[in-house]
Amino acid sequence: MKNRIIYFLPIIVTVFICLFFFFSLSNDTSKLSSPIIGKEVPEFSLVSLFGNKENFNSSVLYSKTPKIVNIFASWCVPCRAEHDVLMLLSKLEGVEIYGINYKDDPIEAKNFINELGNPYINVGIDEQGRTGIDWGVYGIPESFIIHNGKVIYKHIGPIHISELDDTILPILKDLK
């Protein structure tokens, strides 16, 4: 039967299409591995966004209690989407969130926080984005979990409510 081969054609096509979809799925930026994980946090000292607070220094992050560092900007749309989740997170006991305000106008950043609420203990101003580069920022928002000055976990993109329970909280729990 020379026509036989035709009956195998659908399998071949299927394999190609499935492979294509597979690569499309894994072509996802949030899957990028970050070279920063496991390393010590970069050194920085940033002026605080809140006038009455001290500079936000890297030394704060060398502590037994795990901290979350969230890089955000008022112009970034997903940061807004993420903000509700951060607010929720900040109300939990023993969770400390610090912010780095990336390439932003401090006045707008203040408005942003006044409007949506403040989940941060302190926010450092990184107007030029230098510190962001040291942190290996790929696209904001990005969040890091820090313990004893070491980066334990990095999350690219807005934290979704389901990821709170599935990833973020378990990691924090382990560290305590």
Binding site: F8, V15, F20, I161, E163, L169
Partner: protein, 633 residues
Amino acid sequence: MAGSMSLTLSFVATFSLVICFAVSLFQMRYFFSKYESVIGNHFLLSMVQLISCLFSFLILIYVFLTSNFDFQIVYSNSHTEKPFLYKLSGTWGNHEGSLLMWILILTIFNFFYAISNSSDIKLRNKIIANQSFLILGFLSFCLLMSSPFILLKEDVSQGLGLNPILQDPLLAIHPPVLYVGYVGFSLVFSFAIAGMLNNKVDKEWASALKPWILIAWIFLTLGIALGSFWAYYELGWGGFWFWDPVENASLMPWLSATALLHCIIVLEKRDTLQSWTILLSILTFSLSLIGTFLVRSGILNSVHTFASDPGRGLFILLFLAIVLLFSFSLFASKGGTMEKPSSFRVISRESGILVNNWLLLTILFIVFLGTIYPLFIDLILEKSLTVGPQYYVMTIAPIVFLLLIFMTITPLVGWAEGSINQALAKIKYSLIFSLTLAFAISLYFDLFSITQVIILFLSFSLIVTTFFSGIKFSKNNFFIKSILGKTLSHAGFGLFIFSVIANATYSEEKIYDAKVKDILELQNHQFMFEKVNQVEGENYNSIQAVFSLLEDNKAVKQFTPEIRFYDNPPTVTSETSIVHGLFSDMYIVMNVPQYQDSISVRIHVKPFMNFIWLGVFMIIVGGLFSIIYRIKS
């Protein structure tokens, strides 16, 4: 922390799904030859599957209606201030809920199949087994990766989901209808698998399968039409189809289902085209799967989005790959042996239907390519791009052209061996009539291009010939003749194509700066700007402009376009005001008013819109008639 009530609800609902899982696993025993001829208690077990899923779905509806924010899914998708209907539709307006609904519909189809008449025990057992396998697959996905019954660990008092743009009655009913269509093809798929396993794909098999194809096809058509109707009146951009990836994803299974619907007739009547039918059945179901899940996983939107959970997409992809590879391997091993030698000539109804099949699949390929190409380029070159609607129009138009010709002639050509001359002789007068009509209309309006005149002529001749031949054959008892369904659907398609062309040619829109008491003119219509009102709605305030359509200086119709301001979340929406006329729709959209004495408005005149919907309606009703005829005989 979640209350004990929520804990119980979540547990009971999940447990109920686990029962369904167990029963489905048990039902899969029919795959083995040991059980294939056993007369099982399908009624009872499929009832258990149905009720357990229904029960857990009702719990989900209950937590949505009571705004129980202990549930993560309710927190993310609902809000206490949402109107009742949208709390309800919120149940399936998200990934987890819609998956559960998908499973529920799967069990409903399974149940109805189990209680339907069937003499072939082996076929029935295999189909039940395969349906249960599908239920099992989706249930594991639901339970493991996207359970709707996950509780939130934090205490919250208000939900996040209150988007006024999504609050629309059509949006609430459109997905379930579409789903019934999609899921219906799971049964078609099971027929294909069972037929191959039993080595029995014949006339009897086709007769048993055809009504299910019809049911699924009717719902799919209706679902697509509802979606398109929503886009037309809600978006206010004057169009009803935008070749958006999400729309395309629903069109693709429709095209392949329509091809299947026609080739099953050949199989039923002439006992040939076995492998082709099987192939189309599998294809239709896989496109339905792609239509629902790959759209939801975010692949079709953009690969650069921050996908919340690529794992979900991977699971579905894996499931799809398993299902497809399994069925196509079966096809590769059985396909050749099932085919019965075909004994039809080149000029015969079989060939005509086959050609139409190929034309439909070419359209499918075009749509597929247009949808997938941007993803491909994004993957390879990391550039984002869109494919313009003109691509679809330019490539699909010539095929529609051929489709119309074949649709006109094929039904008049005899089975096995026919003659084109005889067919043409039958429709001589209809053709001359249509040609005259097409020329008269285009001369009168002086606007159509050559291509348009030709398509106009072809769609007229399709309508006229189908109606004449349809009525002639069914003179005796009009309503139960099988041909009536076909007549309506085919003529409806002709009407649809005609109206789309006429609509595209004569649609006009214009933007005006209007002051109160101004009279605006568009295509011989006069619109008077009467006044501006402030209106207070349930959860919004709005500014409303009042226009009236003038005829002989008297106001005959009123338009009230609005700009709505919602507080929570602060959102501004603009509401289109449409007046439906017999021959043309008119509508007005307004801009957010500035501090000036005029506002800008856009007026659309869209001729033949009613006929577009009528055409679609006829296609659907034609399908219904065919079903009724089936059941009666």
